[in-house]
Symmetry: C2
Subunit: 222 residues, 2 copies
């Protein structure tokens, strides 16, 4: 059976992405990171969801000893948005330097060790194009670097990055997730780590937009 490593934060997008991998017939291995982000709720959500699916789940833990992102400074204030239309188109304060490259490098390491042929990555550019490491031209160049720099690539078994959500709107992601049976109530998207989603961080605002435009209720909020 063909195998895929799925980058899985425990959030809505990566959950839909994991279900896409399974829907495409891949035997999935999930990979999460605890990297000193503001809270552990994401990793806990990832653990519950993969456990229920019976999907093997690796968690890589590391700390970035430098600053440079609102996501890493637990005491600082996260940017707040009330209106998704007013979100800036520039690189947001929650950008973590080279984070997706770190995640993808670990995913390629896992894929080589597990002999997986693909990496599923829930990157999405359409609704929020501020993150440079979520763009197709970046993923294409990263894939090429890894084709040249891995044993798998050198042996002609280059590993592919699949980003099935890259050009979907948040609405389309919600609808796709519903079709695939994603248990949205078990996912966690909020950047803050409260009892309930804060409703005003980038991630909450975009998730809410997706559910609203899809005409569905977010079970996390009901």
């Amino acid at each position: 059976m063909k195998k895929a490593v799925c980058l899985f934060s425990g959030g809505m997008d990566s959950a839909v992405c994991l279900y896409c991998a399974r829907n495409e017939g891949y035997d999935a291995v999930a990979l999460s990171f605890d990297y000193g982000q503001r809270h552990e709720k994401e990793v806990e959500a990832a653990h519950r969801l993969t456990h229920d699916l019976g999907v093997p789940h690796h968690v890589i833990r590391f700390k970035l000893p430098w600053k440079g992102s609102a996501l890493l400074e637990r005491d600082g204030k996260l940017p707040e948005y009330r209106d998704p239309e007013k979100m800036p188109k520039t690189i947001p304060a929650t950008y973590v330097p080279a984070r997706n490259s770190i995640f993808l490098s670990f995913a390629f390491s896992c894929a080589e060790a597990e002999e997986a042929e693909a990496i599923f990555f829930g990157a999405n550019v359409l609704d929020y194009s501020g993150y440079p490491d979520c763009r197709p031209e970046y993923l294409e160049a990263f894939t090429e670097a890894m084709r040249r720099g891995t044993k798998a690539g050198a042996q002609g078994r280059a590993i592919e990055i699949k980003a099935p959500l890259i050009c979907l709107s948040k609405k389309e992601i919600v609808l796709l997730g519903r079709k695939l049976g994603v248990p949205f109530e078990k996912t966690w998207s909020c950047y803050a780590g409260g009892e309930r989603p804060c409703g005003v961080c980038d991630s909450c605002v975009l998730r809410a937009k997706g559910f609203r435009e899809a005409g569905l209720e977010d079970p996390l909020l009901s």
Copy 2:
């Protein structure tokens, strides 16, 4: 003053590389990894050497929860070589899946956070071309991926990878290190973690070849 992040394992090559960065006028920040390799002597050597130089030193710690390398299996046997001419030209058992991509991704993260303009990396292909992630064509593709995928790159301040040793022989690396004043007695290259270098792992064999061909004695062995 221009700044560079130097990947620094504590071994001979990366020490020469760190001295190259300083010699080229860079303010250096050293970056080491404790990733479950067989011993901590490398990281200790890196710490001593950067402390003596007054160079800031970050250590990133993580564990790879998958197998796939003789370097990660503490109980397994390392390949042994008595004759550097007989070392295989294929990818060695000590290859760690996607390791240099993980290291470089962290280095780019550090470089963005520290506003450094270059990353110094002691990769070397000439004596031992088995590692796919030490080749110039890989470094070139990786740089391009990071130009596209980082905030620095998106803002026109792309970070460069400098690999001053890439086409030097081990002899030339030893001679360059001597010229730059590298304290070889403080470096540690051996893959095993004994009191003294084992003398038969890839790394020991190549280091010995370098000193022999340079007509110098390795102070670690005297």
